[in-house]
Symmetry: C2
């Protein structure tokens, strides 16, 4: 356990807020912790009736490359995660889920960020009439679940939430 004894806010941004926490370690020593405060997010493993998984491809400047990921997005203040998941799946991928199950979630990097991603499994998809976000440059990529699993095994799909989300969904579906 570490006791927080002070907090210095370095930066408050659109996605990321950076705090330096002063802490007391279990042995009484004083130390500092750099913590990125993040509002949390959702990510959705969406499967159509033919066992295709709906993925999105976009440029990620932090990775300096295009990446293929499951649809995801940041929680709005006080937004219930399931509503956020429905919204993001429509905005990013153009699908509305008839059935949305929680798979719990995960901390993406608990060593320095508070971000927790709520994971969902979406099925019974229908085309959404909600307009896409106009500030996002995203391509929808549909591929058989078996191909996505092969690309995870090979390392070609290498986004953490996508690897964890699809592998958890596959176990749930006994594949």
């Amino acid at each position: 356990m570490e006791q927080i004894t002070g907090r210095e806010r370095i930066y408050k941004g659109r996605v990321v807020t950076l705090d330096i926490l002063s802490v007391t370690l279990p042995d009484g020593v004083q130390s500092k912790r750099e913590v990125v405060q993040h509002p949390g997010a959702v990510a959705i493993v969406a499967l159509d009736d033919e066992q295709n998984v709906i993925l999105v491809r976009q440029y990620r400047i932090a990775a300096a490359q295009y990446m293929v990921e499951i649809p995801a997005g940041t929680l709005e203040p006080d937004e219930p995660p399931a509503l956020c998941a429905e919204r993001e799946l429509q905005e990013e991928a153009g699908y509305k889920p008839g059935k949305l199950e929680s798979m719990g979630g995960m901390y993406v990097a608990p060593g320095y960020t508070t971000e927790y991603i709520h994971l969902f499994l979406a099925r019974d998809l229908t085309a959404s009439d909600l307009p896409a976000d106009d500030d996002e440059f995203i391509d929808v990529v549909k591929m058989p679940l078996a191909s996505a699993l092969a690309q995870i095994d090979s390392g070609e799909i290498d986004d953490g939430k996508t690897v964890a989300g699809i592998l958890r969904a596959a176990r749930r579906l006994n594949r």
Copy 2:
């Protein structure tokens, strides 16, 4: 694709460095991106001869709780990932791997951090004589791989690299 046209360094820390990038979007619009610069890391799925997986339990202030994770650590400048993995497995868990295989890796949160984790599968473990890091308060937890998989399915284990790493290793071992 996004072109970087400027970079403002907000903070340079021990683990985390925060930059605000000025970018030109595909449609020519100017925008900003908050990017956490991270040196990269390794994480190790270590299995003993009885198919137990070696985990570590430590307090994570960003998650405000104790968490069970696979051993992991940040790369030193110019450190080869495999050497870092050997070092961290010894420092954190007290085991030396006789056999260390790369499983590729993953971006933990490519929306805002450059952190890439190199994943390894370690086997043929022997007790290490390297002293443990004295600034880390870590307990080693050994559990059957089947139990770890059950705790991932239930959401009890909810660290991203741990979920992704163990599920990838289990597929590799056909479990």
